[in-house]
């Protein structure tokens, strides 16, 4: 394998992981746009998606696709409960940004702890969705899981575009993003939007978690790195722009893959965090324009 195809190989796998980061990043934007809240428990949705699917598949023999569907439903239900019992009371009290962040971070920790109790601390994984040898394009190998990730991401992106562009709820969410007070005056129930946003965001996170788990392992504590990566994706894309966040995710995935090539695998999370700090300190408005 020559140098160039090696680099292409790395870039391709970086793009795959980037799709995952992008989906998580979109999750941040959806909630942020509806409410101005940054949900630091986003990583827990990702972790739970993979974990619940794995539990159903291995312990109860539920087929993969059904396990995945049930897992997404469970994560959405958990997100709605969180929104009801934690976020809503604080939101009604007009709690500060910081209190909201701390509360959602605490939710992340509680969910991690609960998962640790139920599932133990052993890393787990899922089988790949299609068990065939990777496709070869020239010297570059593309695994079927990567194709699944890319295809699912594409479907989700188009689905979201249709949702925001053509459905009542989607349009209402966009209105909230532009101006919450005005949206409320137009008769849009901002509080309902908040719950929907949590549900949608959780679904995105859970799907990302299920898609990515076959390529690596999952454990009770994988959430936070994903949460950070998704947040970086959202920042790079200009916070509050769902599609910008997806591109941001791709950019981060590639950057991380590059850093691993240059510095070795120990620097994977270090590279992501460095990208985060560079963006925050130098260009907090992201690549694609001004943050709201």
């Amino acid at each position: 394998m020559n140098e160039i195809s090696y680099i292409i190989q790395v870039l391709v796998s970086g793009l795959g992981l980037g799709c995952i980061y992008g989906l998580i990043g979109i999750g941040y934007c959806v909630i942020y746009n509806a409410s101005g809240i940054v949900n630091f428990a986003q990583g827990a949705f990702v972790m739970l998606g993979g974990m619940i699917t794995q539990l159903l598949l291995w312990n109860h023999g539920v087929p993969l696709l059904l396990s995945g569907a049930i897992a997404v439903a469970c994560v959405v239900a958990i997100a709605i409960v969180i929104e009801r019992i934690v976020v809503r009371p604080l939101w009604d009290r007009n709690a500060s940004t910081f209190v909201m962040i701390l509360a959602t971070l605490a939710v992340q920790i509680v969910l991690e702890g609960a998962t640790l109790l139920i599932a133990g601390d052993q890393p787990k994984t899922l089988p790949v969705f299609t068990d065939l040898p990777p496709l070869r394009i020239g010297t570059v190998a593309i695994s079927y899981q990567l194709i699944w990730i890319a295809a699912a991401s594409a479907v989700i992106i188009f689905g979201l575009a249709a949702f925001f562009g053509h459905t009542r709820v989607g349009k209402a969410m966009r209105a909230c993003a532009i101006n919450r007070e005005a949206a409320a005056l137009q008769g849009i129930r901002v509080s309902t939007m908040l719950m929907m946003a949590f549900a949608l965001s959780a679904a995105l996170g859970a799907i990302a978690g299920i898609l990515v788990t076959p390529t690596q392992v999952t454990a009770f504590n994988v959430g936070l790195p994903f949460a950070i990566a998704g947040f970086i994706a959202a920042i790079v894309g200009g916070f509050g722009r769902p599609f910008g966040a997806f591109l941001g995710g791709l950019a981060l995935g590639v950057t991380q893959a590059g850093a691993v090539v240059v510095f070795g695998s120990g620097f994977k999370s270090g590279a992501a965090l460095a990208v985060l700090l560079i963006f925050l300190f130098v260009r907090p408005q992201g690549i694609l324009g001004t943050a709201k």
Partner: protein, 331 residues
């Protein structure tokens, strides 16, 4: 008119009375804290080392409180500063054979330098950007501790760190540690009280109250944020170094996200923005898992849950008790 004036006067009088009672009550948690430390010191047993950890955490949380409670800023990355000073102490004393006191001083100095370099750009950020930036700083410190194996020995950690001591005299007993840490924590809390009631403390509190109004009165807001960040980092560094010398061991897990979670729970139990709150919160929270032994396995989860409940139902922690007492429920 006369009647109106009389009513106003009466109101002012009752306000003053409940004010002095409140001030008395404000002392109560501190008194309880001191009583627990004394009880443990006399009683002895395994609680001595537990309360010692509580006192170390009290220092860490007092710093956090200066930055967050007084100045109204956000940092999820104070554990980074504890880690820098802690590792500095550990490496200098074990690998290079330094004395404990110079190693500790060096650790705090290094912490301050890093806090200055990181704080200058980070504190221009606000809200969730600042929160995420500081969280990232904490995680980077953890990554470095894991990856920089030639110095930190990675997950293995560094053991055989000498106990606290100076000029050849070492504190070897648990009680000695407790007494020393009680002294240091007392000084730390006292310093925070002195700062709160000074020009510096007022400026910091003004920044928390309204940045616009503070600037309009000539307060250089950026400067006071950075100053509060540095003071908080110094407290964190001191706590981080004391920890390694008391325990004799350091590993990346010591300064992980667990520390952040624990510190925030302590801060909110004791009452954010109060003087004695960090001390009281730290001791209560450190004693809880000892009281319920079975609870140890899911500590983090329980702390997280307690924190959420406090944020929702009692955002001022024990400090809101005094309001219950005087029959005023606010906020």
């Amino acid at each position: 008119m006369r009647l109106h004036a009389t009513i106003l006067q009466l109101k002012a009088m009752t306000a003053q009375q409940s004010g002095s009672r409140r001030r008395l009550l404000a002392w109560l948690p501190g008194v309880i804290g001191v009583a627990i430390v004394l009880y443990t010191f006399i009683g002895g047993g395994y609680l001595v080392s537990v309360v010692s950890f509580g006192l170390i955490y009290a220092l860490f949380v007092t710093g956090l409180n200066l930055f967050m409670g007084y100045t109204g800023q956000v940092s999820f990355g104070q554990n980074a500063f504890a880690a820098i000073s802690g590792y500095m102490s550990a490496v200098l004393t074990t690998t290079y054979g330094w004395g404990v006191a110079p190693a500790l001083a060096c650790g705090i100095a290094a912490t301050l330098v890093v806090a200055l370099v990181v704080g200058y750009p980070a504190l221009r950020l606000k809200g969730h950007y600042l929160a995420m930036a500081t969280l990232a700083i904490g995680l980077i410190a953890y990554e470095v501790a894991v990856q920089w194996q030639s110095v930190t020995q990675g997950y293995m950690g560094i053991s055989g760190i000498p106990p606290l001591g100076v000029f050849g005299y070492e504190i070897t007993s648990d009680r000695g540690n407790l007494a020393f840490l009680a002294l240091v924590a007392g000084l730390g809390v006292g310093a925070a009280a002195l700062i709160r009631h000074s020009r510096l403390g007022r400026a910091m509190t003004a920044v928390a109250g309204s940045e616009d109004a503070a600037r309009a009165l000539g307060i250089d807001v950026a400067r006071y944020k950075l100053l509060a960040f540095l003071i908080a980092a110094a407290y964190a560094g001191l706590a981080g170094s004391l920890f390694v010398h008391v325990v004799g061991f350091v590993s990346p897990e010591v300064y992980g996200l667990h520390m952040v979670n624990l510190a925030f729970t302590m801060l909110y139990v004791g009452g954010i923005g109060t003087i004695a709150g960090p001390l009281v919160g730290a001791i209560i929270i450190i004693l809880l898992p000892e009281t319920f032994r079975s609870f140890r396995d899911y500590q983090d989860m329980a702390y997280g849950a307690v924190l959420i409940l406090l944020l929702i139902y009692a955002p001022r922690g024990l400090a809101s008790l005094s309001d219950l007492w005087s029959g005023r429920a606010r906020g």
